[in-house]
């Protein structure tokens, strides 16, 4: 793994995550992991159609940031957004239901896997055009600044997005306007099927560009929930206080392929093995035990999570398909789709 201590991220102290937050954070990561695994199984059973981009292995980034956000803060994520939807509080049923194209889905099947949106949870959309959500997040941050609230917007994106124009336009604008927005790169080493290093002029696709916009270069271990939690907290506090944007590159690893179409055979086996050893959930589990949490308690969380996933699966399977009438609704704010009188 690359050296990820470019910003003095010394090993976290036990005080990093306050005691009452620890088990909820662990639970959230386990919930996501188990639900994503189930989604994968359902895809193989042809109960999830189309495509699907799983965030397996990247759970800590989602949970660490969500833990530092208020309910009225905004999240913007990519087509690989299931872990963020769940971390912000969308129910397993609503996420699974959307993947399965059921009425109970977050958008009742009209958006699909790549567009999870739950405004009530601050999840202002998942965007399938790489990088397109970065300026949108800046706009939400501008709105918060304009309205005089202390809300922040957090935009999660992949390493591939750092080579697209919208990334650069947005960083410049956010820095110029000191917008309360945090740009979080989940660097999972692969731009779809292509190793990011082979197509990028700098080592850190996001963080190495920070200087070009007057921002601090921040690279952290994206598989260490405590580091993420602390870094997120600092960036969010800075944004709320009017200190402007942050750009944080989290080194993590996509444990599966780009999408369900990709078996990811291009990954060197030793690389995969190395990263699996750094699995963020396994690491935090070990850490919690080190902090004195009884393994029993963790096993209970894991069992509860499995039961919830089973329950959500059955409920989603039982949910009806959306009505065909819904194809013609909600193009316009009047609820309809008419374009002439």
């Amino acid at each position: 793994m690359q050296q990820v201590k470019e910003r003095q991220t010394a090993v976290s102290q036990a005080t990093d995550i306050p005691e009452p937050a620890r088990l909820p954070i662990y639970r959230s990561m386990v919930d996501i992991r188990q639900l994503l695994r189930r989604a994968n199984d359902l895809f193989l059973q042809n109960l999830v159609k189309g495509t699907m981009h799983l965030g397996l292995g990247q759970e800590a980034v989602a949970v660490g940031f969500a833990a530092g956000m208020n309910k009225d803060d905004y999240s913007f994520c990519t087509y690989r957004g299931h872990h963020h939807a769940l971390a912000r509080g969308a129910s397993m049923l609503s996420v699974l239901g959307e993947l399965m194209g059921r009425q109970c889905g977050l958008m009742s099947g009209k958006g699909g896997s790549m567009h999870l949106t739950s405004v009530e949870h601050g999840l202002m959309g998942s965007y399938a055009i790489v990088g397109s959500h970065l300026p949108i997040a800046a706009g939400a941050a501008w709105s918060a600044q304009y309205r005089g609230t202390t809300q922040v917007a957090v935009a999660f994106f992949g390493d591939g997005a750092a080579n697209i124009g919208a990334f650069h336009e947005t960083l410049n604008l956010a820095a110029v306007m000191k917008l309360p927005v945090i740009f979080v790169c989940e660097n999972n080493l692969y731009m779809e099927y292509t190793p990011i290093a082979t197509v990028t002029a700098v080592k850190h696709p996001a963080a190495d560009r920070a200087g070009g916009y007057g921002l601090e270069k921040i690279v952290i271990d994206g598989n260490n929930i405590e580091v993420i939690y602390r870094t997120a907290g600092e960036a969010i506090a800075k944004a709320r206080a009017g200190g402007g944007p942050s750009l944080i590159e989290c080194m993590t690893y996509r444990q599966g392929g780009h999408s369900r179409a990709d078996p990811a055979k291009y990954r060197p086996p030793e690389e995969l093995a190395e990263w699996l050893k750094r699995d963020p959930i396994v690491r935090y589990r070990t850490r919690l035990i080190g902090l004195g949490v009884k393994e029993q308690a963790l096993k209970a969380i894991e069992a509860e999570s499995a039961a919830k996933v089973d329950q959500a699966t059955e409920a989603a399977k039982a949910s009806p398909a959306p009505s065909l009438e819904s194809t013609m609704t909600d193009v316009w704010a009047d609820g309809g789709s008419g374009w002439h009188n």
């Binding site: 397109s132 706009g139 939400a140 410049n172």
Partner: protein
Amino acid sequence: MAQLSYRESIAAALAYEMTRDERVVLFGEDTAAAGGVFKTTEGLLAKFGPRRVKDMPISELAILGAAMGMAMTGLRPVAEIMFSDFLACCWDYVANEIPKARYMSNGQITLPLVIRTLNGAGARFGAQHSQSVENWAMAVPGIKVVAPSNAADAKGLLLAAIRDPDPVIFFEHKYLLSSKCNVPDGEHLVPLGQAAVLREGSDVTIIALAAMVPKALQAADTLAAEHGIEATVVDVRTLVPLDLQTLLRQAKRTGRVFTVEENPRLCGWGAEIASIIQEQAFSALKQPIVRITTPHVPIPATDQLEDAVVPSAAGIVAEIGRALEAHSSKPRK
């Protein structure tokens, strides 16, 4: 009521809505301090300050993306893309993001935003600053398309666009910026989706938009004075929503329909309208519908060449005369 130019009317409309609604924020390239490269936003920075009128970097993606983020979080942004040709630089937002957000989110996201942009030929700016691209926007479900033809409508339609709960792309026309007419003071609202019948005549129906409207009116005067042909002229005003009923009624009135479009030939908005009219009013037609358009070429720069490709009043008269003669049903007196 005051005589205002089209550009003054746009500034007046923006000022009116910004005074009325604190949520309206205006931004674009050279929009604030410079008052717009075509002076359509002159005086607004002084009146409303830098919080509400903002200069942006040359970053069309960021401009439209930011507008979208603002609109979904409670504001009513008015974003300016300096030339409509530059919509191609941020087409992702016009085609993929803004118009689809409500639908994909199953109604969770509402985007009350306006994209103002300067469309059309007439300034001798060449192929990348002179296009008429309203038909691009019309092809995308989920965005309303407005193109005023005179100063009064520029105000009335802009007020309606800013108050609309849906995203609107508002095409201002550079050929019309200096054109003047009486513009009502204060509240003057022209609802989206209402075409205007500007002239009534029993022989032919000319359907036009934006800068083609004054040319169609001029052509109608010539047809009446020199050829004894009485034309109805309809200003479409908004392509989406489309006032189809007025178009059908006016098509049936004469049975001889001409569309006048500044967009290049293929897939121009007139093709859609002609298709609907022949489908829904076929038995009322006395001859084929004729589309008068810019030919399917880029817009050339120099004055004689630009004038040669964009439909002109004389060109409209000639085309209508030719068509009537070809079908020998001309009601020439």
